[in-house]
Subunit: 225 residues, 2 copies
């Protein structure tokens, strides 16, 4: 029974890791579509989104199969429920990447972004992709310390996001309200994408240790004291 559980759980985490990677690739291409007003790339992200949706359904079925294994113990149940929650997180990451491509498509052939903020979005895109790829890594490795490190990349994202708002609010902003609205929503999409990656990291800590990230950190500090 335990062997079946461990094998099937590893399968579930592999599907989730694959979804995370696809969400990262989607955000990478969406950022390219956005920065270069590349319609073909945006259309590609939009049509490939179906793949993430399909994997979501597959991951949920896999998690249900795990629940239906005879008498999983309490810790197993919690790990499986985390699995369902991670499906929702990666699914949302895919949807947010999709939103970015849709903005790029809506503004094409114009660029949605004023030149002035390109650097911010290039960097937010880089961080978002790194977070998605790190989420994939920790889903596979189940390493709680690596899982917690996703928070640090998200802090960098929050800093960028805050700076972006100071640029927007500056009296020197000359790009009008329509561009400001696009920049505001786009910034939010990248920030939320990163938030979900951090949540995946937190859930992996729980899956692998049975502890919340806060309990896990406290335990580590006590072990070192």
């Amino acid at each position: 029974m335990r062997t079946a559980y461990h094998e099937q759980m590893a399968d579930l985490n592999r599907i989730l890791g694959h979804m995370s990677q696809l969400a990262g690739v989607a955000m990478e291409r969406s950022t390219q579509a956005l920065l270069q007003a590349d319609l073909a790339v945006a259309e590609g992200v939009i049509s490939d989104h179906e793949q993430i949706v399909r994997l979501s359904a597959q991951a949920e079925e896999q998690a249900f199969a795990l629940l239906a294994l005879q008498a999983p113990v309490a810790g197993d149940l919690r790990a499986i429920v985390s699995g369902f929650q991670i499906v929702a997180d990666v699914d949302r990451m895919g949807a947010l990447a999709l939103h970015v491509s849709k903005v790029a498509r809506r503004r094409h052939p114009a660029k949605a972004l004023p030149e002035e903020v390109n650097g911010y979005f290039a960097e937010m895109g880089r961080l978002a992709v790194a977070l998605a790829m790190n989420a994939r890594e920790v889903l596979n490795s189940q390493d709680p310390s690596d899982a917690l490190r996703l928070q640090a990349d998200d802090d960098a994202m929050d800093d960028l996001h805050r700076h972006l708002f100071t640029v927007l609010m500056d009296r020197e902003w000359r790009h009008g309200v329509a561009a400001a609205v696009d920049v505001t929503l786009l910034g939010r999409y990248y920030e939320r994408f990163a938030d979900h990656a951090v949540l995946i990291g937190r859930r992996v800590v729980f899956q692998s240790t049975g502890k919340t990230p806060e309990q896990f950190l406290e335990g580590q500090q006590q072990a070192q004291a």
Copy 2:
């Protein structure tokens, strides 16, 4: 066993219904804080948020207790997993109401909204509260037809949200970029709040019928044909 399951499931849905109501009340007060730049009301929402967080934890524990009941059948498992997903939805609704109050607090004593869009937000607030209260009703009644009707209220929210953007994009907008950024984010908070209420309705259809909303509707149309 089945009796224990049904009783505990009803308890879980009662907690979720209560959370939904609290999220609705929070959004009602946040809208008031926003429209009237009422700091005390905003602070109240912010300090009361703890209540929703506490109930989230309680609802998750209740759902775990349900999972741990001996050998729930496949349909029960799906209903319990929907319960976990509903926890995440109402939790997010509470967080979005909180975001609105935080904007009101940040701009106080000024009003965050230009007079011109007050009517939109009053109406989006009314719809959001109605959606939260209807979500509570269907969580308690488990009526799949009522659950699907939440979609119609959300269509009204989407219409308002779209109109709001046409106001923002209008060349006559004279309130500057900072106000446009606030209006953009606030509009998104109301829209997402409504989306989560609709998701709760969809999950109740699944809990009560074992079917997706699409399958349920198709079944009804076939029964009438």
